[in-house]
């Protein structure tokens, strides 16, 4: 049986979007050019700087940093993992990917967290943003590559653009969630003690929703990494490019190695961002505590003397 075709003319939804993007290019080309140049410069300088430093030095610095905000075991495993990537000859690609992820995540957070905060202030914005966020999260990420290329051409910047869009929803949602879960009595207390809107936000709402916001940051990083591989299809470079190459050549050995490098990077970044704001004791928090104790004792001595 042949299905009867719908006799109505097809709605030109896709055409409308294409027309819109073309209109953007035609009228706002200057702006996109500026954005591209700025981001190119930032990522370029960033990765050049990191690649200029010897890998051993960089791995040690990473190890120290991870030790400070997590602990011994995680730091040791991270150092071993990063050394393995260096050994596999994928160090420059790893650095490129890292830069791409970090820049994309920073941009996503700069947009996402304030958006989440604004949503708690306006019911209308919250209602409007919800379907937009659903759209951003469920639209297959490959689709973002098309307008990205149209707007920014081939290279790192369209990769960044697609990654940012893909990674924004979690920080928005989790910031919104965290702030709305702050008990009403806490906010009322701050207001009753004379806080203005900004103080309610910075002294009560943000500190109390920090665990939730940090979960959003963590999710943002994870999505960023997964998108970076896809973004290499449009020339974003880094580890994703190696993965793409090994797929096209059916090179299992290279594919496994580059895939493993991505896994290592993802795990290192995940462990780094997971503990922040959770209130767990880390070497850094112990150092801060010791410093505070030292200061307190010093002050008590001064008081005794006085």
């Amino acid at each position: 049986m042949v299905l009867p075709s719908l006799e109505l003319p097809k709605l030109p939804l896709g055409d409308a979007i294409e027309w819109f993007v073309r209109w953007l290019i035609k009228n706002l080309e200057v702006i996109f050019d500026i954005i591209r140049e700025v981001l190119n410069a930032i990522t370029g300088a960033f990765s050049d700087g990191l690649l200029w430093v010897h890998p051993v030095f960089l791995i040690v610095i990473f190890g120290l940093l991870i030790w400070l905000i997590t602990g011994k075991l995680t730091a040791l495993l991270s150092v071993l993992g990063l050394a393995l990537v260096w050994n596999m000859g994928l160090w420059p690609q790893l650095v490129n990917t890292l830069v791409l992820v970090v820049v994309a995540v920073v941009i996503a957070l700069l947009i996402g967290i304030p958006t989440g905060i604004l949503m708690t202030r306006s019911q209308k914005l919250e209602g409007a943003m919800r379907p937009v966020l659903d759209f951003m999260q469920t639209m297959p990420p490959f689709v973002y590559l098309i307008p990205a290329v149209m707007l920014f051409g081939i290279g790192v910047v369209p990769g960044l653009f697609a990654t940012v869009i893909f990674a924004i929803p979690p920080p928005v949602r989790l910031t919104y969630l965290g702030i709305t879960q702050v008990p009403q009595e806490m906010k009322e207390m701050a207001i009753a003690f004379g806080a203005n809107d900004r103080q309610v936000l910075t002294k009560v709402e943000l500190p109390l929703s920090l665990p939730s916001i940090m979960a959003g940051v963590n999710q943002c990083i994870m999505l960023g990494i997964s998108m970076v591989v896809i973004a290499s299809m449009i020339g974003a470079g880094g580890l994703g490019e190696v993965v793409m190459r090994s797929v096209s050549r059916l090179d299992l050995s290279l594919g496994f190695e580059s895939g493993l490098a991505i896994v290592i990077l993802a795990m290192v970044l995940d462990r780094m961002s997971r503990n922040v704001g959770s209130g767990k004791k880390t070497p850094l928090s112990r150092i801060i505590e010791k410093y505070n104790n030292y200061r307190k004792q010093k002050q008590e001595k001064i008081e005794e003397a006085a």
């Binding site: 008990p183 003690f193 004379g194 103080q199 002294k203 920090l210």
Partner: protein, 401 residues
């Protein structure tokens, strides 16, 4: 003398577009009628009061009576729909944002039911919170906060986090946070409501002795009449958003303004909650009106009493028989004692204890408890009543159960 805080025809209606609800309210419609008509709740329904400087003013009422709403109108957390609230002669509802913040930061401090301590800050930093908002430098505000902690006896806990403290200690921190502001007015929203009875009593005592030193104007919201009587220089009883009576504890207890206040006062009294049925006991022995004189005498001897209650069919109380009346019958070898049955002292099952007490005081014998059909439910003896009254004195356990 001018009042420190004054409310004039204060009305607070929750929700948006309150004009219509306000109009209905002014036409004299009741709270439930206004909800039906407009869907809006009248939180405070036309309240007037004056609070003098240095006075503890207690607002008491059941939940939903509008007492917390009224409290929040004083520092502008809620704005009145109509009427006026004056603090030091200035109308709170007419202040702009900046003046309002200043009023809250400098004139009025608040203590919350669930403490509202910030879990991420140490005790000292929690106490210093208000000063921090005011812009007092770090070292100075910590110093003042630690002094305030000394005054509530928590100086050793200054570097701990709130989660490490018990409920009573947390509320002391809440109190210190309010005291450190050195404001003239202290608003307390059921501050001891979340604490257990023993700690609550302790905190009440502390507040009273603290008040002797600090002489603040305290507005204290509670649902506990005992607490109100203990703390309040004056007490306002609220119901459905309106104040039923304002007066000292004496005035309210001795001269309740209306039935509601009267019932409200009794509601806390154990004699309301405990009725005759709940304290009655089944006697060790009874006698049926169909049984014989010798059986009755035998049971009296066994239980060492001088009288027995007499029951008819279906446990109906017929009366009581006395030993002194039965003995002559026994000598005459009479079997039937129906002629000597006397009327017994009875109370109905739902008699409140206060009335049971007066009934029992007049009676030498125990009092029988009967239901509406005259069925016998048990007796109240003098000793049971005394024991119950004694337990009542010992703790609040019965009053609340």
């Amino acid at each position: 003398m001018t009042a420190k805080i004054e409310a004039k025809n204060l009305v607070k209606i929750y929700g948006e577009n309150t004009d219509k609800a306000l109009e209905l309210f002014n036409q004299g419609l009741s709270r439930s009628e206004i909800i039906q008509e407009t869907g809006l709740t009248v939180g405070v329904a036309g309240v007037n009061f004056e609070i003098a400087e240095g006075e503890i003013f207690v607002i008491i009422g059941l939940s939903g009576s509008g007492k917390s709403t009224l409290l929040r109108c004083i520092n502008g957390l809620l704005m009145p729909t109509s009427g006026s609230l004056l603090v030091d002669g200035k109308a709170v509802e007419k202040l702009n944002e900046e003046q309002l913040r200043k009023l809250r930061g400098e004139e009025i401090s608040m203590v919350f039911q669930h403490f509202a301590l910030l879990p991420n800050r140490t005790i000292t930093d929690n106490v210093a919170f208000g000063l921090e908002l005011r812009g007092v430098p770090y070292e100075k505000r910590r110093e003042r906060a630690q002094k305030a902690l000394v005054s509530v006896g928590l100086e050793e806990w200054k570097d701990k986090l709130p989660e490490e403290l018990s409920g009573g200690m947390k509320q002391r921190v809440g109190l210190a946070r309010a005291l450190v502001m050195e404001s003239g007015i202290l608003l307390m929203d059921e501050p001891f409501g979340a604490l257990d009875a023993l700690i609550r009593a302790e905190m009440q005592e502390e507040l009273v002795s603290l008040q002797r030193e600090i002489k603040k104007t305290v507005v204290f919201v509670t649902h506990d009449l005992d607490e109100a009587l203990r703390l309040g220089d004056r007490i306002a009883i609220m119901r459905d958003g309106a104040i039923e009576q304002i007066g000292t504890a004496d005035e309210i207890l001795s001269d309740p303004a209306n039935d509601y206040v009267d019932r409200f006062i009794q509601g806390v009294d154990v004699s309301k909650i405990l009725d005759a049925r709940s304290i009655s006991k089944w006697p060790r022995e009874l006698v049926r009106d169909t049984e014989s004189v010798s059986v009755a005498l035998h049971r009296m001897k066994k239980t060492d009493t001088d009288y027995l209650f007499v029951l008819g069919p279906r446990y109906k109380l017929v009366g009581m028989v006395m030993k002194e009346d039965l003995l002559p019958l026994a000598q005459k070898r009479e079997k039937n004692f129906n002629d000597v049955i006397k009327e017994a002292n009875t109370v109905s099952a739902d008699t409140i204890m206060r009335d049971v007490y007066s009934e029992l005081r007049n009676a030498e014998k125990d009092v029988a408890v009967i239901d509406e059909n005259g069925r016998f439910l048990g007796v109240i003896t003098h000793s049971v009543l005394l024991m119950t009254l004694d337990e009542r004195k010992g703790g609040d356990g019965i009053a609340e159960s």
